[in-house]
Subunit: 107 residues, 3 copies
């Protein structure tokens, strides 16, 4: 099985960072709308965030599947960083969904 070279890895890492960064911005916009009691717009931003997360997650899953299929590649700091970005952004969005429920309750 062909190996991914360092440049290809970095391209995927950058994609994951960009998509995760976009998603994180959307989640923070959702928090902004929650503060104003604009729950529908908050929800929309969380949906938009999810689309970017799905794209980033797809890239990550592909790497994990390639690895499971025997492809080896060196982990570099950028790839590690990109995965941290994605996983913390997914977690932040999960929290935002719960906070939206709580905001609605106290409104």
């Amino acid at each position: 099985m062909s190996e991914m070279n360092s440049e290809q890895i970095q391209t995927v890492a950058f994609q994951i960072i960009l998509e995760s960064g976009d998603a994180r911005t959307n989640v923070h916009e959702a928090f902004g709308f929650m503060r104003e009691g604009e729950f529908e717009q908050a929800n929309e931003q969380l949906d938009v965030a999810n689309e970017a997360i799905i794209r980033a997650h797809g890239s990550q899953t592909e790497l994990l599947q390639n690895f499971a299929n025997g492809q080896t590649f060196d982990m570099d700091i950028l790839m590690v960083h990109s995965q941290d970005h994605l996983m913390t952004t997914m977690t932040l969005r999960e929290v935002a969904i719960e906070m939206l429920h709580l905001y609605k309750k106290v409104n």
Copy 2:
């Protein structure tokens, strides 16, 4: 000092992912109970999550201690992913505990 081979590393990574995944499910069940005002059940789920986290954390700590003792092993993407899983799940549980306080306050 003997080295861990790639297969042993992957076994530990899978254990960490499985335990973290169970814990994450429990935390989300706790959020579900919070929404319904069932705070005791929420608390129970957070306790169950903690048990799985402790098991996963134990595996991670063992790896870190082996590393401190001079054992080397290649970091692969699955091991990186497993640590992300664990650390974000621990963080999500910390948030859930704080949200439970807030839910009780507004109830």
Copy 3:
């Protein structure tokens, strides 16, 4: 370009873990103040947390820039762990800021 050796990498990793650990403690102190309705002190703790995060983030950014400039270094489990620490602590602080808003709202 000169390479960072394993010992230098570990020194940076430990710095990131220590600063992130301090920041995390501050964030949890902030949560404690929120529970008591002491919002000014909560805010102060979040500011102190931010200073430690900025220091840790600076170390991480330097590594990423060195990597972008062509410096290579082996990723080890401690460095991966340190980045998880930093990124989850940054996320926890972002959540704490939003919870402070919600606490003020329900007070």
